[in-house]
């Protein structure tokens, strides 16, 4: 019997070849270079590592990268929900075209997005010209960082929510309505609980992308140390000064923080999923 199962498994050839190549390529391109970063980060000693990552300028840049990414992911979660709801449930002119456009931030090179957003929000730009007299400064401020990260993260939320909304059982909503629930009650009590896991996934993806984002941010940020300087830019600055240990230390802190946050969000997500399934 065991032989039979083994034989059936080996009918299709190429297991060793494809898995071997996959592991080799994965190791060479991703795993070895990444572990080199971890090993090198302590090449200057633990004391140096701690000194680098607790320097005020480094802490400020990490706070900005993670803070702006959190804020942008939050904004994207709210508006992404509205956008995917509208795209799934309602009909309006040019809907397919608008739906396709949602992927623009995936397809548009980040440097192009960066200079376009800067031109848009610069004091004399199309939007900056309107916002600036109101006292809202976007370009060359931390707010500009948030705006760029909103642009970058939006499709992650929309594309995660859309399939879940499409598969949502309308019978349950009708049942809720029949039982006298208002639209708002149906939304908060029936629809939203089913969407929590997808909302968290979308949030996490947008956040992860935002933390490490570079191209779309550096043009609009103004890059003032302590104010609008993101962590990836500080890594590049340290590299240009041949401070490899410093650059690597910041990189490792970013990697550990974002992996840790992703694990946390994953745990939260499976908790939300179980809770939803349980009810």
């Amino acid at each position: 019997m065991g032989n039979d199962a083994a034989a059936r498994r080996s009918v299709i050839p190429g297991f060793g070849l494809t898995l071997g190549y996959t592991m080799l390529y994965l190791s060479l391109i991703v795993l070895i270079p990444l572990s080199a970063t971890f090993i090198r980060s302590f090449s200057g000693g633990v004391g140096h590592f701690v000194a680098v990552v607790t320097a005020p300028r480094v802490l400020a840049s990490l706070r900005l990268s993670f803070g702006a990414a959190l804020l942008a992911a939050g904004v994207n979660t709210v508006f992404g929900l509205v956008i995917s709801w509208v795209l799934v449930r309602y009909t309006f002119p040019f809907k397919r075209l608008i739906d396709a456009m949602v992927d623009l931030p995936f397809a548009l090179p980040t440097a192009v997005a960066g200079i376009a957003l800067t031109a848009l929000y610069a004091p004399r730009g199309w939007l900056g010209g309107v916002l600036e007299p109101l006292g809202i400064h976007v370009a060359f401020t931390p707010l500009g960082v948030v705006i760029a990260l909103i642009f970058i993260g939006l499709p992650f939320v929309v594309r995660t929510l859309q399939p879940v909304l499409e598969e949502l059982d309308k019978d349950v909503e009708q049942a809720a309505a029949t039982l006298g629930a208002s639209e708002w009650q149906t939304f908060t009590r029936v629809i939203l609980p089913a969407l929590w896991p997808a909302l968290l996934t979308g949030f996490a993806l947008a956040f992860a992308r935002g933390v490490g984002e570079y191209g779309s941010v550096i043009f609009i940020a103004g890059n003032m140390p302590m104010k609008s300087e993101i962590a990836p830019l500080l890594i590049i600055t340290k590299l240009e000064q041949y401070d490899y240990a410093g650059a690597t230390a910041i990189a490792v802190v970013m990697l550990v923080l974002s992996f840790g946050l992703m694990l946390g969000i994953n745990a939260l997500q499976s908790w939300a999923l179980n809770r939803h399934r349980g009810t």
Binding site: L104, T110, V112, G212
Partner: protein
Amino acid sequence: MDSPAVTGTYQVPSAASLREREPRRGVRWGRLLLIAVALTFLAAFLLLPLMVVFAQALSKGAAAYVAAITDPMAWAAVKLTLLVAAIAVPMNVVFGVAAAWAISKFQFRGKSALITLIDLPFAVSPVIAGLTYILLFGAHGWFGPYLQNHDIRVVFAVPGIVLATIFVTFPFVARELIPVMQAQGKDDEETALSLGAGGWQVFWHVTLPNIRWGLLYGVLLCNARAMGEFGAVSVVSGHIRGLTNTMPLHVEILYNEYSYAAAFAVASLLALLALLTLAGKSFLEWRQPELRHGTRRLHGNTEK
């Protein structure tokens, strides 16, 4: 004679549905409001940046636009971008097909861990991706002295740019192909094998035709990112004009030199590429609607 009958038929339903019509009107306004919010947000965050690229590119007139995109340095950047994509994309296609074959046709321990590792480059900042290659191949890197002795340049040269591009586009093909191949199962392959076909024959004549749309989809997304990558490439390129400048880096240089119109002119070529990518993506999704939500199915299937 007619009018009382008309008013009669008119009044009966209106009276009955009056109570129902009130909330429905509220709902309709709610819908319009939500649509307005969604469209305003999309217009401000997606449409305006796209329009501003073309408006700025043409701000100095058509002649300046043509001059900017026919500049020899711009052409060198275009050529390098095409070259890098022409190496990085096929590399990731071979890997993607191999990974999807192993994951979809066989059961083995650690499969979901492998899928997570394949997705890992998406969670790493492109700048850190570039940094890792500097640490390996740079002058002070692990292999730096060896490479210098043999006069091989990786960092601040084309090989480094290719490597960094491969890193950031690593998961694209694999993650599109895995769900497609998992959905197709292995019946077709097993049938072909039982009829006496060889392994490669099965792959070329059975598997490849089955996955062609999914493969193209992955190639399209991979290529868009490969040609547009900025952060990772910026770290390893050294910004040597005409030699290690890709199109996005060329845009940055022009922009930092305050040649805005020229920067946006080159950027407009990349924006056109993005629009072509979106059009191709929509076409493939129309051919094969399952492709739309491939990512989600990937995670759905790993749970089983």
